[in-house]
């Protein structure tokens, strides 16, 4: 069975990295179809084009390391090991979803796998990752935390504060900036004074820029940063240059917002992380992985769409960890 072949490959191997980028790509393409069909409401922020970053960074992590993610978070969640079926079920708001249908695309989380959640507020997760890293260090051991964020986040004060705390306290955090050139529609050149790595350097944080379309380049940079963090060397910042192949959000598919020239999108898509990594595999290996991914994604779609919707009676279940119940609204 195709499933068995790729399992034997480590996430950081060429086959493993290809499997991850291919899985994210196909997952996102199917998710966009489900947005169009109305099975996913509210839309999604597709990760297509940026797969190398999630794949490369998460291949450098252990299962007990933690990540905090963004509104464009499916790739990170899948790369850290979340079940594709439960992830897709969450996007579709089903009771079997990672978050029991309470979070959706922008909040997907799996704490058992160290996925402390996607986060819908730009720049918000860096400080959360710093706190998790501090707690990990207090426990002993050498666990690390990763904060993924986009180029838009580098203008958020709370993220800059978090860089300061992480550097000051030498916390085992990896700050991964996915620079896809746009904060929604605003270009980096219209938004960022100075440079992104310069922000890290200002706090004395080792900061590097890498090719974010190449999973192996990202993995190499992530390994260096993670090794430093595990050894007590403090945080690092890795800026990954990338390009978002699809819309900022699927509402653009209908709204037709014009901010990227057709030529730019065409040339931006020429360097494709799935192709770059796929070219490192034999045809036989690649075809095997492709078949396995199709099987996995087909099964995920079937699982998600076959799963029950949550019962509205429990709409505010889990509002309080203690189980406290809120007063009802309505006329009650």
């Amino acid at each position: 069975m195709a499933l068995l072949t790729a399992v034997a490959h480590a996430p950081g191997s060429d086959v493993g990295l290809y499997r991850t980028v291919r899985l994210i790509r196909r997952f996102e393409e199917r998710a966009v179809e489900l947005v169009r069909s109305g099975d996913i409401v509210g839309g999604i922020h597709p990760y297509t084009g940026q797969e190398a970053i999630a794949a490369g960074v998460c291949a450098a992590l252990r299962v007990d390391d933690v990540i905090t993610s963004t509104h464009r978070g499916h790739g990170h969640v899948l790369a850290k090991g979340a079940d594709p079926g439960r992830t897709l079920a969450e996007l579709a708001g089903r009771a079997t979803g990672l978050n029991r249908g309470r979070g959706g695309s922008m909040h997907a989380a799996d704490f058992a796998l160290g996925i402390l959640g996607a986060n819908a507020i730009v720049g918000a997760n860096g400080a959360i990752a710093a706190g998790a890293a501090w707690a990990a260090r207090q426990e002993g051991g050498d666990r690390v935390a990763v904060s993924f964020f986009g180029d838009g986040a580098v203008n958020q004060g709370v993220l800059l504060e978090a860089l300061n705390l992480a550097a000051l306290w030498r916390l085992p955090v990896l700050f991964v900036c996915e620079n896809n050139g746009y904060a929604t529609t605003l270009t980096v050149s219209d938004a960022v004074a100075g440079t992104i790595t310069g922000r890290g350097a200002a706090f004395g944080i080792p900061s590097a820029t890498v090719d974010g379309m190449d999973p192996r380049a990202v993995l190499d940079a992530a390994r260096e940063a993670v090794d430093r963090a595990r050894a007590g060397g403090g945080p690092s910042l890795v800026e990954c240059l990338t390009y978002r192949f699809d819309a900022h959000h699927t509402w653009e598919h209908k709204a037709r917002v014009r901010y990227r020239a057709d030529d730019e999108v065409r040339s931006g898509r020429e360097r494709d992380p799935v192709t770059i990594q796929g070219d490192r595999l034999s045809d036989e290996d690649r075809e095997r992985v492709d078949a396995e991914v199709e099987y996995t994604v087909d099964a995920a779609v079937a699982f998600a769409l076959g799963s029950p919707h949550p019962d509205p009676v429990g709409a505010l279940d889990h509002l309080y960890a203690t189980g406290m119940r809120a007063r009802p609204g309505g006329g009650g």
């Binding site: 933690v66 905090t68 979803g97 990672l98 978050n99 029991r100 249908g101 309470r102 979070g103 909040h107 989380a109 799996d110 704490f111 058992a112 402390l116 959640g117 986060n119 507020i121 918000a124 860096g126 400080a127 959360i128 990752a129 710093a130 706190g131 998790a132 890293a133 501090w134 707690a135 990990a136 207090q138 426990e139 935390a145 004060g157 709370v158 504060e161 978090a162 300061n164 705390l165 000051l168 505010l316 279940d317 889990h318 509002l319 309080y320 960890a321 203690t322 406290m324 809120a326 007063r327």
Partner: protein, 322 residues
């Protein structure tokens, strides 16, 4: 029995919880030298891993606490100034508070946000004198406003042990209160359970935080004319509606004295719920700050926007006449 001040009660609760549970730690600005006095002696006793001085980065250290809490710690953040909660509102309300529901129950965020010196400190002007507990009640964040030293000890203890985020407002006007208590008798006070400080038959006065002491003083002043019951919810969210219902069932009249702004303040919710649920023999009256009050600097002006005893006495008289 020894005297316990409100401020010392907070300090004692922090020390006891730090000693009891290694997951507890305190962070905030100037907590090492204990500028507010609430953390006095804790750095020396528990060291730098349990008592963390932070840079002036309220947003980051508030979410830092969330991250630590998601990883099994129980942070207590001290905010020197109540208005700093506005700066960290996103981190408390939109992040910490929402994690449990948004993750479908995977996450718990046991962070305590302690504000020693909330409300007017007389003379600290517009940006240091707010009392925004109603905002957190509105958002659904558990919120305690202890009035007395023993409740300060008990509610802070419960807040630290609670698995959800809890804001604890310690009103500046109550910090100096002292009580003669047996320290051995101090213990946790459950969130959501009010306290009748004085029993009465004619009118229930709901008083919050330091205003409990004003309400007790007014009740005493008026004792010859009217029998006033003073009900202290102790936590404004969750609110002890059943406890209040029982009190109002006895008295049939309701006055609320609340250091919120009038518009959408806590008193507004109490009066609205009373209108829906309780059988009142006369319309209830609120004594609050004015709508949208910005506390002015000059002392007479500062006092002019605080609910005071004369207003409360007038309100009690009014509900009795109707």
């Amino acid at each position: 029995m020894p005297w316990l001040s409100y401020q010392k009660a907070l300090n004692r609760a922090l020390g006891d919880e730090l000693a009891r549970d290694p997951a507890v730690f305190v962070l905030g600005e100037d907590v090492r030298v204990a500028v507010s006095n609430v953390t006095a002696g804790l750095f020396k006793r528990f060291g730098p891993d349990r008592v963390l001085d932070t840079p002036l980065s309220e947003q980051a250290f508030t979410s830092f606490a969330t991250g630590a809490a998601l990883s099994g710690r129980r942070p207590v953040i001290e905010f020197q100034i109540p208005a700093l909660l506005y700066l960290a509102f996103e981190q408390i309300v939109n992040q910490a508070h929402k994690f449990s529901l948004m993750t479908g129950g995977q996450a718990r965020v046991p962070v305590t946000y302690l504000v020693p010196g909330s409300g007017s400190k007389t003379g600290w002007a517009g940006q240091h004198s707010d009392h925004p507990y109603a905002l957190f009640a509105h958002a659904g964040v558990k919120t305690a406003v202890p009035a007395t030293p023993e409740d300060a000890y008990g509610l802070l203890t419960s807040a630290i042990r609670d698995d959800d985020p809890v804001v604890v407002f310690a009103p500046a006007a109550a910090l100096g209160k002292r009580v003669d208590v047996d320290h051995e008798g101090l213990g946790p006070v459950p969130l959501g359970v009010g306290r009748v400080h004085r029993e009465g038959q004619d009118v229930t006065v709901v008083a919050i935080g330091h205003l409990v002491h004003d309400a007790l003083a007014v009740a005493e002043e008026l004792a010859d004319e009217v029998s006033v019951e003073v009900f202290d919810p102790r936590t404004v969210y969750p609110f002890d509606w059943d406890g209040l219902a029982a009190s109002v069932a006895r008295t049939g009249r309701l006055v609320v004295v609340d250091d919120s702004n009038r518009m959408c303040g806590l008193a507004a919710e109490v009066v609205a719920t009373a209108a829906e649920r309780f059988d009142l023999v006369s319309p209830p009256v609120r004594v609050t700050r004015p709508d949208g009050a910005v506390v002015p600097f000059a002392l007479a002006l500062d006092h002019a926007v605080q609910p005071d005893r004369a207003q409360l006495a007038a309100a009690i008289t009014k509900v009795l006449k109707q």
